[in-house]
């Protein structure tokens, strides 16, 4: 404690308004979820049933498989956004015509309603009348049932998610790219480096902070993702595109509050198990670079 505590121009009570709201509506429910996940619960009375909810979660095939699908969904969307975002950013910082307009176009989908995008693409992916399959047909390709084929539905939603989110990855990478000093490129050109070598040895290591941001952000949002799945497939056909977040909503709707809360704890653990080691690994890499 520093001596003149009362006179500090930066008083602790400045934390209070935020802390009250955050503590009551975010921290308290999060802590309470650990208890309620161990109960049979109707919002009024909670009966302790031990780990039964988790046992049920891990024994029902459609509940367990939602974990795998969540990982696939998050991994694919994050990977695609990272790779495409970097490539688009490299393209959009290079001297090409209409650069400003192109940047605007790629970023705009980030800002529009996710449900609106979901409905639009659901319509465009209609198996027979949708414009995607009509276009494919005119090229002589027999288009698949994007959202009606159980083995494909999840991946179709992944594509739409990437379509909507790649603009954010792109602007984050652009900010990273323009902060790289041009001196490195000039020096390497004098040394006879090729374009590919420059990308691999200069660009990629020096945009590392941007990569960390893009991967972490897109992975967290991918693991929690609900809106697009709900707008496009509601987890279907069958349970083929159910992720943990949509399972939680379905259990909540069905009145299984204890089970829904257990699903929340599973999702929370999943994110913690992935993001914490990843962040740690990212930090060690940064020290080396």
């Amino acid at each position: 404690m520093t001596a003149p505590r009362r006179k500090s121009p930066y008083p602790s009570w400045f934390f209070v308004p935020a802390a009250v709201v955050y503590g009551t509506l975010f921290l308290l429910p999060t802590v309470a979820s650990l208890w309620f996940s161990l109960t049979r619960w109707d919002l009024f009375t909670a009966t302790y049933i031990g780990l039964d909810n988790f046992r049920q979660f891990f024994s029902e095939p459609f509940l367990v498989s939602s974990i795998g699908k969540t990982l696939i969904y998050a991994g694919l969307t994050s990977g695609l956004k990272t790779i495409l975002g970097l490539l688009l950013a490299v393209l959009l910082v290079s001297p090409i015509i209409w650069r400003g307009m192109l940047r605007t176009i790629v970023f705009f989908p980030v800002l529009v309603s996710t449900v609106g995008v979901g409905i639009t693409f659901t319509t465009m992916m209609h198996p027979t009348k949708g414009i995607i399959n009509v276009l494919l047909e005119s090229l002589g390709i027999d288009g698949p049932g994007w959202l009606t084929d159980p083995s494909l539905a999840l991946f179709s939603v992944v594509l739409v998610d990437v379509w909507k989110g790649v603009g954010l990855a792109t602007v984050i990478y652009m900010a990273g790219l323009v902060s790289i000093s041009q001196d490195y490129y000039e020096a390497s050109r004098i040394d006879g480096a090729t374009r590919f070598q420059q990308f691999w040895r200069i660009t990629l290591p020096l945009v590392w902070p941007a990569t960390v941001t893009v991967v972490t952000l897109s992975l967290i949002s991918g693991l929690r993702f609900f809106e697009l799945i709900w707008a496009m497939t509601r987890g279907g056909p069958g349970f083929s595109s159910d992720v943990v977040a949509s399972v939680i909503y379905k259990q909540y709707q069905a009145g299984f509050y204890g089970l829904a809360t257990a699903g929340n704890v599973v999702l929370f653990s999943l994110i913690a198990l992935l993001i914490l080691p990843l962040t740690w690994w990212f930090n060690t890499r940064e020290v080396e670079a």
Partner: protein, 281 residues
């Protein structure tokens, strides 16, 4: 060297043209599709094809969508605007206060506060327990309850933005005010807060868009017809308009317009807010 010159001069144009062609196909066509569907009549729209309309029905469709279910869209717009304005106002005040003290004062508390801030970015909200808390406070299914939820969920992001920005404002300003005998809250609200205008604008714009577009949280915490928000109208119309694609897409069009307007005016602030941290890590 001289042989490489001519293709190099053309490259920016060729690459730009190719990129534009690709972007038009992938990014512009879906928006054009929304627009085309919204101007067609029911029969033409239900074909779901990508053709120019034979006749224009945009105004008719807008009137029909607005009148649906006793003007529910207007109610939804009203609710969404109240929630957005209320939540963003509180977010700016609360988050700037936290960011200010976090950035200025060195104390053992800071590590703890930062851990909570990062937890807020990472942890998915526990839905049913939150409803339980809201019910206990008689805030469930109320607009002000929804506002406070959006504040709780948005704080982390706003605090990080403010903290980073305040670190770049010279301390001498607060010290000068302190010597003049100003109280801490006077220093903050009269001297520091006005200097935070750029980051406040970024905060307002980014959070407004997020809250206006939010679907999941109103779905959980704000059920009931009189509490409808714009994103939920879309969801409700999806089943109601399953054979009236012209109206469904007119609704999408009407909901996409506010972010479009904000984007036109605040493009730079939005990008600044969303890319914060990309360079420093």
């Amino acid at each position: 060297m001289s042989r490489a010159q001519p293709p190099k001069r053309w490259r920016p144009i060729v690459v730009g043209l190719l990129t534009m062609a690709g972007f038009l196909l992938t990014f512009v066509v879906p928006f054009l599709f929304i627009f085309l569907q919204a101007v067609k009549d029911r029969r033409a729209a239900n074909k779901l094809d990508f053709t120019w309309p034979d006749s224009w029905h945009l105004w008719e469709n807008i009137v029909a969508v607005v009148q649906t279910r006793d003007y529910i869209l207007l109610l939804a717009y009203f609710n969404s605007i109240v929630i957005t304005v209320g939540a963003v106002t509180l977010l700016v005040i609360f988050a700037s206060m936290v960011g200010y003290v976090l950035s200025r004062r060195r104390s053992r508390l800071n590590g703890f506060v930062m851990a909570l801030v990062l937890a807020g970015l990472m942890i998915p909200p526990a839905v049913v327990p939150t409803i339980w808390v809201l019910q206990g406070l008689t805030l469930f299914k109320t607009i002000h309850g929804m506002i406070l939820i959006q504040v709780a969920y948005g704080l982390s992001f706003s605090i990080l933005l403010y903290r980073a920005f305040i670190a770049g404002i010279p301390r001498e300003l607060d010290e000068a005010a302190l010597i003049d005998g100003a109280k801490p809250w006077q220093i903050f609200f009269r001297v520091v807060l006005p200097l935070l205008r750029p980051v406040t604008v970024t905060n307002i714009v980014v959070q407004s868009i997020g809250i206006f577009n939010d679907f999941t949280n109103p779905l959980y915490y704000l059920p009931g017809r009189e509490n409808v928000t714009v994103q939920l109208t879309l969801f409700n119309f999806q089943s109601q308009f399953s054979t009236q694609y012209n109206l469904l897409f007119t609704n999408i069009l009407l909901i996409t317009i506010p972010p479009l307007i904000v984007f036109i005016f605040f493009n730079r602030q939005i990008v600044a807010g969303m890319t914060a941290g990309a360079v420093k890590g």
